[in-house]
């Protein structure tokens, strides 16, 4: 009985002795390349406004923990989507480094293409319209194109501007 108690105490002592080892930080592990790659899709949540894999603050506990979380997810066999969902659950949508390709965020992705397409159509229409204009009609059309002022008035204004200004 006494021997059993001694064994128990010894085990307790060993456990207590090893406790600091558990609490003390383990040597820093470098995140894997894959974690770095996935980390490029998130923002570091320490407030530095940097992409997670580019956060360069030594001792930034947030980026270290986030990259570790990515590595742990990869070790569990989680897909990139699962890891992303876990981060969104934890930090909200502000964790994205770029808007996701779904839902309202599609607006962000599609807008530049829409601007370009609309602008292109507009430019082509303008070019087409200008090309159809005969040269001789231009000056008179410019002035009398169903506007409130006549060609003479415009010419007078032009002459006045030339008279009143010097380069």
């Amino acid at each position: 009985m006494i021997k059993a108690r001694k064994c128990f105490l010894m085990m307790l002592l060993c456990a207590a002795g090893s406790l600091p080892l558990l609490i003390a930080p383990l040597p820093a592990q470098q995140p894997s390349d894959r974690a770095h790659q996935i980390g490029g899709k998130f923002m570091c949540m320490c407030g530095c406004n940097q992409v997670l894999s580019q956060c360069n603050h030594v001792g930034c506990t947030v980026s270290t923990a986030m990259l570790k979380e990515v590595d742990q997810g990869l070790a569990r066999g989680d897909s990139e989507d699962t890891i992303t969902q876990a981060f969104v659950q934890e930090f909200g949508t502000k964790v994205y480094a770029e808007p996701p390709h779904s839902g309202f965020s599609l607006v962000a992705w599609s807008m530049p293409a829409v601007y370009l397409a609309l602008g292109l159509v507009l430019v082509l229409l303008v070019i087409n319209r200008w090309r159809k204009r005969p040269v001789h009609a231009v000056s008179s059309a410019a002035a009398a194109d169903n506007s409130g002022i006549s060609a003479e008035m415009l010419e007078r204004a032009r002459m006045r501007a030339a008279r009143e200004t010097q380069d």
Partner: protein, 686 residues
Amino acid sequence: MDVFGSFALLLSFVCAVYAFVGGIAAIRTRHPLLVKSTRQAGLATCGLIFLATFSLEYLFFSDNFSVAYVVAHSNHSLSPFYKVAALWSGQEGSLLFWSFLLAVYVFSALIAYRNKNGELMPYVGVVLAGVQIFFLTLNNFVASPFKALGVPGVNGAMNLVARGDGNGLNPLLQYPEMVIHPPNLYSGYTGFTIPFAFALGALLARYPGEKWIHLTRKWTMIAWGFQTAGILLGAHWAYAVLGWGGYWAWDPVENASLLPWLTGTAFLHSVMMQEKRGMMKVWNVWLVFSTFLLCILGTFLTRSGVVSSVHAFASSNIGSWFVGFIVVILLVCLAAYFKNRDYLKSENQLDSIVSRESSFLFNNLILLVSCVAVLSGTLFPVFSEWFTGDRISVGTPFFNKVNIPIGLLLLFLTGVGPLLAWRKTSLDSLKRNFGWPLLMGLVAGATAFPLGVRGFYSLICLILCIFVASTITMEFYRGAKVIRARSGASFLASAVDLTMRNTRRYGGYIVHMGMVLIFIGIAGTAFNRDVQKEMQIGSTMQIGPYSLLLQNIDNKQEKNYTAERMVIEVTRDNKPVMMLYPERRIFPANQASGTMVAIYSTLKQDLYVVYAGQSPDTQAPVIHVYLNPLVKCIWFGGVIVVLGTLVALLPNRRAVLVLSAVQEPTRVKSLAGTLTPSPTLREGHD
């Protein structure tokens, strides 16, 4: 001195109000004395703003720690160099600095046109005074830099106090570039006020669109040049100080500076359509209006806290003032446009889609798409929060994906546009102008591919850069060859002569060449590498061809900070290259720390070494090393862009100056031949 400065500011506000109200009355009554007195009031406004600004600087230099702004941004040991920069290091001071730079422009414009354009200038003066009133309202009543330091007393009243020392300047700003970057950027922002005032003034005065364009071209180029220099200096500051290995992070503050630059660039191109062909008058007016509005919008974004930025004055409540100002300006512009749009009728006519005119239209389209894409990306977090309740971040990856293709399209047009003829370009001309450059671009691409340049965008960028550089070089070559054949001068002298004969055109080419270099530098980002390692004295690390040995760690004591410095020997193939000293600085005044990066820069690549701090686990220094190829091209390209802008600002040297050297009467006949401008060299072929 704070009372003097405060009074000068208040008086300048009164003068600006008089210049505005009196200006309107002068326009209506056309009374010469009223016109003169409002102009004098405009000049007095500027003079008083100068006095107020110098007063604040005096308070910094005299260490007057009874003024809250001086306490917040300076201390005894701050070097005089940075006491100058302390002026714009906080919100109140930077708004005063804005007013100061605006006053410099306004003063210059009022003096430059004091005996000219008598009918137009009152309109311009009213617009300028209106803008000044807004900023002086902020300076006087919202964010005064002359507020005395006070503590609440027992009875609730403020008791004035003076501190023994100030908090010191933000460490990130204690870097030489921070003394020149904000003035450049702000000069760009404020400079666009002049073309805006002339455009709006000309519209209000019912001038058809040509005149204000001629009057403001140089002002626009000056503002654009400053804006370009400011953006690049900011990028260099971010690269050398922030220590993350890059120079552009698409931060809202950076984006805010880019937006007016993009529309300003579009304007500088489309304005040529108006000058040469009388086209796009409405478009140009709105481009100038938009550029000015984007300058104000950018300021709103960075000061309101609407978007989060590492540079922003997020806690400020000044945003609503800017929103109000933007709304007022927009309403005035719309009203002026709808009332007088008939005077902007354009003579739009196009002979062919393959022409200079079309290329300018596409150039404007691409620049505007880029501007709107950057703006919508910057504001998307706000929109997403409005519509979905969740704030979705938009970071670097998004902006890169969207803007790289746009940038490449723009680069392509940079090569194509200038070589297309006005009205119509023939197939023969296309072959002659683009055959060789295209071939050279493709050969460069074919050579680079086996050498490891495999990224799609990098490869396309390289091909386009060589293509554009070749087209520009060939343009200089062809022109210089003609002059050389006639004058017998050296090729270089002929090229210089060519440039000076049409500074605007060839200055523009120089700017384009600078942009090519900047694109080459940006393309290098695809090949960046980095390594981070905990190091002990004597340990080494390797990156690319370089080996880094940590020789020692020492401490440096300066007047305003202490620094822990790494002494690193860089070797290549066992041969010493140089010593690098990355350091971390601690500023006791505000207990802040800052990084000082060490860079070994060559034309090929930058070895960029950061002492990132001590490992929390082992207390060993952590060294982060980046190998960034071609970064120098960006800075070099920036210098060339600014030089090109300066060249474009010079007046043309007339061809007759060259001819005057030839005096023999027997050669009159040959001289007559030279007097006829060749198609290549004809004046005004921009």
